[in-house]
Subunit: 311 residues, 2 copies
DNA sequence: AGAAATTATACTCAACTTGAGTATAATGAG
DNA sequence: CTCATTATACTCAAGTTGAGTATAATTTCT
């Protein structure tokens, strides 16, 4: 146990990797480097007071973006990402064993960018996750998956559970599971690169190493979180209309929301208050402007208790 | 960004730390070392295929316990836990900067134990988290907190939100937040040790460093998870009665559950099926024995979609 | 053996929440 | 001044949840 601490430890390099999200024009975007091929990452430096402080420091220094919200996603070991034989096949991977700690950060898209960085829609990488406009994309993916399943019952059950039937139920939080199923089926370039399976990949931009997997984790986390914690407001300006709020949520969820019921949902949570001002200029009735009530952060716990308690 | 990877990295030691949970006799227990003072932890070794494999390996080797379920909790840097001046005050802390990766693992308590390890009820460390039998403990803690608040509005709001009013609402998932509030108020020994505040601590066993904080994180995670993912079954024998299932859930939640409604809750999830057998020997009507239906893991996604979607 | 205690299981019903849709209000454009 | 457009308000049936009662099948007590 603790006594073994010095008994053969691996001494490793540690890297912090960020999924920095902003929503612009109804589009959820992530900050990328290398023309959208990789997520920004930086080393943990001895001067950093904490892991989160280290992440904040280098993201703000290098991207000039203020980060409003940071949350740890997952930690993994570099070698765990692939077997030993892939080590040689991929010269980009360092020889030293490394630890990567990934983070989800929320911000707003600013005009000034560093030359090498750019904002990309996350549906660029996961087009099948956007159900707002139905192109026949999902039907095609389902077909490819079913072909791969070749009548195996358990595979077909997973496909149905994750990718639903035509117009059937769709769980928008299962982003990672869907990506992993596609990987397993050899339908993403990251998998075929290692020659697991050779097949025509589904649409969706490839990324370095497991960066698309990290991005999937971030999307899933954010989609789950917006339902029970007031994090959307980190992505909105100080004042916003209820429609803007709704469209930001829709962008994240990748699905349209029922307007009257969405308003009821927001009102009963008492998360926002009117500023007294309203929009003007656009067509139609002016919309009231709202602001987030930060006091709720102190008041409530925001968890959907669903167990049948006794009183 | 990525190019900076070699530009001044900290090279660190990495430690894996486990919260291994089992439920015995309606008591949720964690495996500890040093007479309940610390959580078991082991080093990341070069031979480990992955972080999780490393954790599994040394836990099973050192405790002889099979682990049925493992989930990563959180990663933190050693120095982040305390300021530089505490460094000298605490000789147990290594001089090298270290990374700790914590895990939640589920198991069943086995008879054979290693000499130095022991199972302890987690309510030993967090007695205020057990609402099943009401001793006047919470009332006393509320009093101490209110005294600390000394009429500051925001403090009083947090106390009310986290510790509720007498018989008022209680969110059992806020384990970590409650512990942190007690820390801030100087009411736990771990805080007073660093002389932040001197006060009479509330009941509850102290732990090494931030181990009690990690345990709180694990409890909160598990209390949240049992509501939407079928993880309780990892803590139960293969066959069980509905009452045993209920009592295990109650042990984790720290609250009594409404029996008829709990049965409805379980039935409508279709997670279990009758084995055909029943108990015998005890007083009262024999209870049917159930088993978990593992097929549901493939079928469903288990997330409580609460957004008002459109069709 | 029969009554009482004990535990399991089944059913009921009002209150609340959610899904889906319709109605009305206030603006700009033509 | 009318229409298109967007915002906001209301309605109502269906589903879910909270709380309690009724009945069944055992062991234990006398």
């Amino acid at each position: 146990m603790r006594e073994n601490r010095t008994m053969g430890n691996a001494v490793v390099e540690t890297e912090l990797i960020a999924v920095l999200v902003a929503v612009t024009d109804g589009d959820p975007r992530v900050l990328t480097i290398e023309s959208g091929y990789a997520l920004p990452s930086g080393p943990l430096e001895p001067g950093h007071r904490s892991l989160q402080a280290g992440l904040r420091a280098w993201v703000e220094r290098q991207t000039h973006h203020p980060i409003f919200y940071v949350e740890q996603l997952y930690t993994f070991a570099d070698q765990a990402r692939a077997g030993a034989d892939q080590q040689a096949a991929d010269p980009q991977r360092g020889v030293a064993r490394g630890i990567s700690i990934s983070y989800l950060a929320l911000s707003r898209e600013a005009a000034a960018e560093y030359p090498s960085t750019s904002w990309r829609s996350w549906y660029h990488y996961f087009p099948w996750e956007d159900l707002r406009e139905n192109n026949g994309l999902l039907a095609g993916i389902r077909q490819q998956l079913i072909a791969w399943a070749s009548h195996e019952e358990s595979r077909l059950a997973r496909i149905a559970g994750l990718f639903g039937a035509e117009g059937g139920p769709w769980n928008e939080e299962l982003v990672l599971q869907r990506y992993e199923l596609l990987w397993e089926a050899g339908l993403v370039p990251e998998a075929t690169r290692y020659a697991l399976v050779a097949a025509t990949p589904v649409p969706g931009k490839e990324m370095l190493h497991d960066h698309r997997r990290i991005l999937a984790t971030a999307i899933a986390r954010l989609r789950a979180k917006i339902k029970y914690r007031p994090v959307v407001f980190e992505l909105l300006p100080h004042e916003f209309t209820l429609l803007e709020l709704q469209q930001t949520m829709e962008a994240l969820a990748g699905q349209g929301l029922h307007k009257p019921n969405f308003r009821r949902f927001i009102e009963q949570q008492e998360l926002v208050e009117e500023t007294g001002r309203a929009t003007s200029g656009q067509a139609g009735r002016p919309a009231k402007l709202f602001r987030f009530r930060p006091s709720v952060l102190e008041e409530r716990g925001f968890t959907g208790s669903k167990l049948p308690l006794v009183r």
